[in-house]
Amino acid sequence: MSETPARTPLHALHVELGARLVPFAGWEMPVQYTGIIEEHQAVRKAAGLFDVSHMGEARVRGRDAAAFLDRIMTNDMASIRPGMARYTVMCQPDGGCVDDLIVYRFSETEFLICLNASNAAKDIAWMRSLIGPFKVEVLDECAAWAQLALQGPLAERILGLATSLPLGTIKRFGFAVGEVAGASGCVVSRTGYTGSAGFEIYLPAASATQVARTLLELGKPHGLVPAGLGARDSLRLEANYPLYGHEISERISPIQAGLGWTVKFGKDEFVGREALRRQAEGGPASSVILFSLDDRRIARPGAPVYVGDILVGEVLSGTHSPTLNKPIGTALIAAGFAGSGELTVDIRGNRLPLRIAVEPFVK
């Protein structure tokens, strides 16, 4: 991206905390504060606070909001109860992914959707182009919201020090609206992108610094640290959560990505249905696997994967797993080879065997 990167409302706080800031998806974001591995371990053992204000938000409301969302999303939207959220994919007619999203239902006729930063403008334009006869409006609320992710086994205890919301009653993928650290109108959901317990907090942009400072202060005695995008990536990969542009993209469908559970063929017509049904029934041309390496070298995105001398795929994501103390990653593998026990990846001329994981490395 050639333009000057955007800054979140917490930019000054990141600088004060000594973050290393890098350009990411058009934003200037903290990749780390003290070190990726240390921040990763803090989230697994205590808690970490992430600024994820680069994520976008769109409000979809109107008489036909649920029917409209069911038309454009792969997952079932009408059955989401108010106060609950659901993960879904939004597909192109050919089955490729426009984005993966979390849809929060506020009422019969009102939803808030969390969008990936790099896709936010595209997503909003895409949704608006599909409104047609539906009685619905799509509002761009990206600038109105900041987002914090408070993740880790102690997240609930720490957040409880800053809010009187009944956190214990919020189920997984449930949410409540109320005051956090003196800021009203916050949406607190039991969701996350780390594989550890925790919450995501949508808050008015103007309140972000105050809330983040309060949480960091209250959480410090419990081991809470600010955590950056570097740890966010190694945490999500251990949990096998897809990252748009890597495991899912305009060329990798939810069926290929192992997200078939988000595609509900039983509901009425939705964008991408025919293409996805063909893939689900006939098997896709390639599919995504999760792997680890018994080595110290990390297989980076683009590294070629072989069976013998046959090129059968490429690495999509790769990092060091602090939990396993080994390299882990994902790869897109051609049909017929995804279950092969003989996959190898080429890293700087070394052919290393891929060990396919059948389950995420953390649950």
Partner: protein, 126 residues
């Protein structure tokens, strides 16, 4: 600010080189380089006896974030690679100029050493 010891020579690729009186030299990466890489998880180093031309890739450093090639500052032959880095790659983050030296080499053409940056010259590139 990163640490740039006065008694070493440097390359613009952030390697340091310590030259001994007997014509051998020790090579590693600078404090600036380790800070930019972040947590180092692995170092790929060459075997004893291998030779490298000036600027050739002699190895790689893996951090959580990225893999970076290591460039030979001068033409050389490998006398020893630092085995300690196999088990404790994070030494690179803690002691970039000490325990985390990477290779000891025989310098093929000592006249080349004059072309390396001194501490002030390297610091000016940062």
């Amino acid at each position: 600010m990163s640490n740039v010891p006065a008694d070493l020579r440097y390359t613009k690729d952030h390697e340091w080189i310590r030259v001994a009186a007997d014509g051998t030299a020790t090579i590693g990466i600078t404090d600036h380089a380790q800070a930019a890489l972040g947590d180092v998880t692995f170092i790929d180093l060459p075997k004893t006896g291998k030779t490298f031309a000036t600027g050739a890739v002699f190895g790689a450093v893996e951090s959580v974030k990225a893999a970076s090639d290591l460039y030979s500052p001068v033409a050389c032959e490998i006398l020893e690679a630092n085995g300690a880095l196999n088990d404790t790659p994070d030494l690179v983050n803690r002691e970039p100029y000490g325990g985390a030296w990477m290779i000891k080499v025989k310098v093929t053409n000592p006249a080349e050493l004059a072309g390396l940056l001194d501490a002030a010259g390297y610091a000016a590139t940062l």
